[in-house]
């Protein structure tokens, strides 16, 4: 019978304490890996969203604020860009394409994004992927709407469904644009970006919704313009909230950014999304580090708990050790037996921790996707996680050397007989 076998049977004999020790290690491993996984995945998800966009332009504000409201639909725009300014700045020689976005309406908690068909043409996310349709296609009619995958899935909408949009973003009692319902013309494939949680309509559609509104107030019955009537009207957009820019060459990015920032007629801000994201990471970095530090502390506490468990078991196992000695076990066998025990704790705790992590990831993935629009990919453990796992098993084993050494010393002094 090998030492590993012996250690395993011995642990099985003390299965309650052993199991509790393993569970406590597993929980801390899950916590540590989970924090790290969320951090990496959240960053990947954010970075993926802006990967195809060179610049984002909006009304003057902090770059982080602009990035959050224009790209991630978090918070509100400070101001709009006039249509004329947008036209002028889009005409720059360096610009390959622009995608305007017009925000401010919603539908059952999901944001409505007014945009142009260039969204479907030029927007790229992840690894240079363009938007594609699960069913239907782009909006072509004034009152067509394209749904993000998450919107369609959670509301159960299909092509041809009539959708009434609301004025404003959240809360109850929003004014409904119920005289101008939209029809679902297309549903996007999942992208893992905030567009999954958005409804896309044309800029003209946005204009049509608000054509009879005066100073942000809903029309009274007399002035109200019907959907049919709106079709005949001029629906040239007055403004956009922000626009995304793709450049012919990224070399021009700084020049274009300066041109926008110094644009005289209107106070604007142009940001490089990667740089703004860097600011965001810096902002949340200390919180992340604190969380990581706490997880490490929890792990250390659990390993010390394991050490306590083993050390307390030593005395009651003294006779067991001397029996082993009498049947021929060398002192180093005793040492190996004890250290194998901590190694089993470490390995089992880490494996169970990984298993729990994946179970949680599978459970939490849809929730994060729905509630935060955060796409967490459930992938195989990365190098960092494997190194971490090895480090945990290594530390457990190393800590196990303490009781192992004591058992070794005991077995030398006790010899074959122990008096209890």
């Amino acid at each position: 019978m090998s030492i590993v076998h012996l250690a395993w049977k011995s642990l099985k004999n003390r299965r309650t304490t052993a199991l509790l020790t393993i569970i406590s290690i597993a929980v801390s491993v899950t916590l540590l890996l989970g924090v790290e996984r969320l951090r990496v995945q959240a960053r990947a998800s954010f970075t993926s969203t802006v990967s195809g966009t060179d610049l984002v332009v909006g009304a003057r504000s902090s770059s982080l604020n602009l990035l959050l409201y224009s790209v991630f639909h978090l918070g509100n725009a400070t101001n709009n860009i006039t249509w004329q300014t947008y036209q002028e700045l889009s005409d720059d020689d360096a610009v390959a394409w622009t995608i305007p976005v017009s925000l401010g309406d919603s539908h059952r908690g999901y944001r409505v994004v007014g945009t142009s068909v260039d969204m479907f043409e030029y927007f790229q996310y992840g690894d240079e992927q363009a938007l594609s349709f699960a069913s239907g296609g782009r909006f072509s009619d004034l009152f067509d709407v394209v749904l993000g995958s998450e919107v369609a899935a959670s509301l159960g909408y299909q092509l041809g469904r009539q959708v009434v949009l609301s004025h404003g973003l959240d809360g109850a009692g929003l004014q409904q644009h119920d005289n101008k319902p939209f029809t679902v013309a297309g549903i996007l494939e999942p992208t893992g970006t905030p567009l999954d949680r958005a409804l896309l309509i044309s800029l003209e559609g946005i204009e049509a919704l608000h054509v009879d509104w005066i100073n942000g107030a809903p029309p009274n019955a007399l002035l109200s313009v019907s959907a049919e009537k709106a079709r005949g009207m001029s629906l040239q957009p007055v403004s956009v909230t922000a626009y995304f820019v793709g450049l012919k060459s990224r070399i021009a990015a700084f020049r274009y950014q300066r041109a926008v920032n110094e644009y005289r007629p209107e106070a604007l801000t142009a940001i490089l999304p990667g740089v703004a994201l860097g600011e965001l990471w810096q902002l949340v970095g200390s919180a992340e580090n604190a969380l990581l530090a706490i997880s490490v502390m929890v792990l250390v506490a659990c390993l010390v708990g394991m050490l306590t468990t083993i050390l307390t078991s030593l005395n009651e196992r003294r006779r067991e050790m001397s029996i082993l000695r009498s049947v021929g076990a060398r002192p180093w066998h005793i040492f190996a037996l004890m250290i194998t025990e901590s190694m089993i704790y470490g390995v089992a705790g880490t494996l169970l921790g990984f298993a729990t992590l994946y179970a949680l990831l599978f459970a939490i993935q849809p929730v994060l996707q729905t509630s935060l629009g955060l796409h967490i990919a459930v992938t195989l453990p990365g190098t960092f996680e494997l190194v971490l796992a090895l480090a945990i098993v290594g530390s457990a084993t190393l800590l196990g050397a303490v009781p192992a050494w004591r058992a070794y010393r005991n077995s030398l002094s006790d010899g074959l007989t122990v008096r209890l």
Partner: protein
Amino acid sequence: MPVIDLANVVYRWGSGKPVLDIPELVVHRTRKVFIHGPSGSGKTTLLGLLGGVLTPLAGQVSVLGTDLATLSPVQRDHFRARHIGFIFQMFNLIPYLSVVDNVTLPLSFASERLQSVQRSGLTPVQEAKRLLAHLGLDDPLQLERPVTELSIGQQQRVASARALIGSPELIIADEPTSALDADSRRAFIRLLFNECEAAGSTVLFVSHDRSLESLFDHSLSLQDINRAAVGEVL
């Protein structure tokens, strides 16, 4: 060549008075020797010296012709595992191992004893079951039960099978019958002797209970051979 040969062996714990001072003790092959003495007469120390876990202050401890002092601690451990089977007073068994696993345990630490079993054409488990059957433990149900649920007598028989497996040359028994009643003691010793004779093992039996000494070839009083014990009133 004697199995045990002690010459002028002196041992003391720490820096106190010697607890053991034996000018001579010789035990020949296949003998069954009974050593009696009250507690404190140095029995445990003698067993420690024979097992190689203690080293004498002076003198020579030879087992099977090997002077234990010439061996390193690791070699002594190995020597013990290979040549000596121990049976102790009680709580002799590893509680989390099955009966058969307890019996085959020494084979994992002494390959010579494993080979000795294999030479007989049996697997370790078969040999363990054979020994247990000879010692009167042949009920398959008993073998399945946790060792902690066996009676003391049954536990001591399991411990004997463990000492005997792989046919070590020397069986050292330290008060193995103290927890048994008189009838069980005699039965236990007969079973033990049968197996030792079959394997050609020498038996050194240490006890304070002289009622058993008639069963042995030789009986010694530790007080008679231990000069350190002379004059001590216990």
